[in-house]
């Protein structure tokens, strides 16, 4: 449809402004708000799964409360009504069992999308994610690939306590054979989830509960049903020249706010949204650090052996001579997540922490 409009523009010599008017008209004809379209991450994920399920009958969804309850976080809303109980399975509370069933179904040729209510519960099934999914293509020398997606909310939510707040990016990203993705915006969510479902390898898709309700502007291109983002490519959310801030998931929002604050003080920060934790886009990371000479990495998870540690190691190994300041690492506090609201705030990186670290990185070379 968009193609037709473009064609008309070429043929009929429409002016750019009339094209924009046509576009808005089309957009409002589809009952969207006039102007740029916005979409919540929840709707983005829902539409991605919906479109992939309708495109390929081998795709099915399995997890706790994904069907009749419409999804614990309403990500799978409407799918049961649309596709029926043979494609949207409400499982019993048996993570190890149903994850294994998903892996076995993937061995035999189907494309399961397994939902964990939160990734904390994936620890009950981690043997299947790693030993029978990630390693199988290798152990069987390419005979058996596992086109499965494990998705669910990851990391801290609000006041959910120690057992519901861990970030699993570092653990899963250290395993060869897995692909680990962490979207931030609605466009990321749509593009990466579609890419994950189409991918022939096991993908761990780390969402964030607090981002589900956030709206992001989304382009027409991203709404197209064949839209897909490449796995392994980071996105430069904001260009800058003084310091590079690298992060993923919810922290991208914080980094962008920090970049605004830093801009007021004359520091131009470049914010990179990793999108893909494994494979890590070392090329983009290093190119950016070579441009700015300063690095700040941010993550929500535990500090030791985290994603930031890997980024810092990569930069020190590959771009050492370009660095003008020691690399800065901001992670969650090295404690299980406390419950009290003020303690929780202290245990997670905040915008002020990012600003402080960026300033530290910028002034040190003086």
């Amino acid at each position: 449809m968009w193609g037709i409009v473009r064609q008309r523009a070429v043929d009929g010599g429409f002016s750019a402004s009339s094209l924009r008017r046509t576009r808005s008209a089309l957009v409002s004809a589809r009952s969207y708000a006039a102007g740029s379209k916005e979409m919540t991450v929840r709707d983005a994920l829902n539409s991605a799964i919906d479109e992939e399920m309708s495109a390929d009958p081998k795709v099915f969804v399995m997890g706790e409360e994904v069907g009749q309850y419409q999804g614990a976080y309403k990500i799978t809303k409407g799918l049961l009504e649309k596709y029926g109980p043979e494609r949207v399975y409400d499982t019993p509370i048996t993570e190890a069992g149903f994850t294994g069933i998903g892996v076995g179904a993937a061995y035999a040729g189907l494309k399961p999308v397994v939902e964990f209510m939160t990734f904390n519960f994936s620890m009950q099934a981690i043997d299947h994610i790693i030993n029978s999914a990630a390693k199988s293509n290798y152990m069987s020398a390419g005979q058996i690939n596992v086109p499965i997606v494990f998705r669910g909310p990851n990391g801290a939510a609000a006041g959910v306590g120690a057992q519901h707040s861990q970030c699993y990016a570092a653990w899963y990203a250290s395993v060869p054979g897995l692909k680990v993705l962490a979207p931030y915006s609605a466009e990321d969510a749509r593009g990466l989830l579609k890419a994950a479902i189409r991918d022939p390898d096991p993908v761990v898709f780390l969402e964030n509960e607090l981002l589900y309700g956030e709206s992001f502007p989304i382009s027409e291109e991203a709404l197209d049903s064949s839209f897909c983002l490449p796995i392994g490519k980071a996105k430069i959310e904001r260009e800058g020249k003084d310091v590079t801030i690298i992060t993923f998931s919810k922290m991208v929002g914080f980094a962008l706010k920090a970049a605004e604050k830093l801009a007021e003080e004359g520091i131009s920060a470049e914010v990179i949204n990793l999108r893909s934790i494994r494979p890590l886009d070392r090329a983009t990371i290093n190119a950016s650090v070579r441009k700015t000479s300063r690095l700040v990495t941010v993550e929500e998870g535990f500090p030791q052996h985290g994603v930031c540690a890997e980024i810092c190691a990569s930069v020190v190994e590959e771009s050492f001579s370009y660095l003008d300041a020691p690399v800065e690492r901001i992670a969650g506090a090295d404690v299980p997540m406390p419950y009290a609201a003020n303690l929780e705030r202290l245990a997670l990186p905040q915008v002020e922490d990012i600003v402080r670290a960026a300033k530290r990185a910028c002034f040190r070379s003086k």
Partner: protein
């Protein structure tokens, strides 16, 4: 234990009704007398029984059956061809495993090697009833399951030697036998790990039939041991297999020992077959040292699965003549117990049956043994002569889509760099 039928049975009698089900195996024209039953059922009454029970069948009831002291009736259980196929398969399993032990002690094989000596009846009894598209999932004691399913002895031996001609090109090893062609879905080191994977493969059969509307009657067999029956995943899968009525057969190879832990010391109720009815599927106990008994039970279970009636739990009482693995000194097992089971060697028992019932003579059986010996020797020579994997193989097959290795410093995907595939580029 006396043989018994519980009165509310979900009948397993399928032998007369498997019209389409086991194409490559010609069934013996036997009567429908089910092994070990105290009643001899003729065809009409079995059908009547089926329909009667179908009417009042409750979903939670299961059959408990102990098939031990069967009396051989006048009609034979197998034909000569079937008998020879079974014999050959068991001899292959035994010779292969014995050769593995020899090769291990000569240093050609390494790591963890778990041998199947003594349990051949279970593998042969079940797997010889399957077609190529049916799946088998096993544990680390998987050499013989792979062989019975059709993977060549050469491929398995090369895999054990770690050579590139192995069924997984040397990347899996003893505990991870995979074959897409023969639908051997592994080979898992963690006990209990294979059970959900097998349940998933059975789930796929059902999905193909119901959602993709394909003609799919494939069943899956999951083999695992007595120790696994105390693991949570086992129960999770019994629940889900019965809930979704999946075409799967759970085969417990109860050899009474989990490394050095006796089954009786570790299990509150050692009778594993009883756990089937608790989840709504039949639980059957069979003498796993007798391939014919195993085969009869297997026929019923496979037929049930193909008909869409759901899973079965079969407990095979068997024994491993060697230790848990080649590194196990096997000191905890009583010599008397070992001797008792050695006297019930399944190969000797089948040989005796074939000879006594004039299905084969000694010479034919000897020639089979000789043929298998040569086959296994040839497999060893082949494996010895095969090359080790090339260096580039290290990075191959980590992902089905090698773009998963990410983007290199030059901005292109790493996998496109020729040095990467040669194995000399830095990862």
């Amino acid at each position: 234990m006396a043989t018994s039928f519980s009165s509310a049975t979900i009948p397993l009698h399928g032998s007369q009704e498997n019209r389409l089900l086991l194409p490559p195996i010609r069934l013996a024209p036997s009567s429908s007398s089910f092994l070990g039953s105290t009643r001899s059922l003729t065809i009409p009454s079995s059908r009547r029984l089926y329909h009667a029970h179908a009417a009042r069948r409750s979903p939670v009831v299961g059959v408990q059956e102990v098939v031990k002291d069967k009396k051989i009736t006048n009609t034979l259980l197998i034909t000569k061809e079937e008998g020879l196929v079974l014999y050959e398969d068991m001899i292959l399993g035994r010779s292969f495993e014995d050769m593995c032990a020899q090769m291990y002690y000569r240093g050609k094989m390494f790591g963890f090697v778990h041998l199947y000596n003594g349990q051949e009846a279970v593998s042969t009894g079940f797997i010889k009833l399957l077609t190529q598209s049916d799946s088998v999932v096993s544990t680390y004691r998987d050499h013989v399951h792979a062989l019975s399913k059709g993977v060549s002895a050469r491929a398995v031996m090369s895999e054990l030697f770690g050579k590139v001609t192995g069924c997984c090109r040397g990347q899996g090893g003893s505990m991870h036998m995979f074959s897409k062609e023969h639908n051997v879905l592994g080979g898992f080191a963690f006990i209990g790990e294979g059970i959900p994977v097998a349940t998933g493969a059975a789930f796929t059969s059902k999905y193909k039939r119901e959602v993709l509307k394909q003609d799919c009657e494939d069943v899956t067999i999951a083999f695992f041991g007595d120790g696994t029956c105390n693991n949570g995943q086992f129960y999770e899968c019994l629940n889900m297999a019965a809930l979704y009525k999946l075409p799967i057969i759970f085969v417990v190879e109860n050899n009474l020992w989990a490394i050095g832990m006796s089954h009786l010391r570790s299990t509150s109720d050692p009778e594993i077959w009883k756990k089937g009815p608790a989840f709504g599927m039949p639980g059957v106990h069979v003498d796993g040292m007798d391939v014919l008994k195993v085969r009869e039970v297997a026929k019923e279970a496979v037929t049930r699965a193909r008909r869409g009636e759901g899973p079965t739990l079969v407990e095979c009482e068997t024994y491993r003549f060697r230790g848990h693995s080649l590194a196990d000194p096997d000191e905890l097992r009583d010599a008397a117990e070992k001797a008792k089971y050695a006297a019930r060697d399944p190969i000797t028992a089948l040989k005796k049956y074939l000879v006594e019932n004039k299905l084969a003579n000694e010479a034919e059986l000897k020639s089979i043994e000789k043929k298998i010996d040569e086959l296994v020797e040839e497999a060893v020579e082949f494996a010895d002569a095969s090359p080790q994997p090339g260096r580039s193989q290290l990075l191959e097959n980590v992902f089905a889509d090698p773009k998963g290795f990410g983007i290199g410093p030059d901005g292109r995907y790493r996998c496109e760099d020729p040095k990467f595939t040669e194995g000399t580029a830095q990862v």
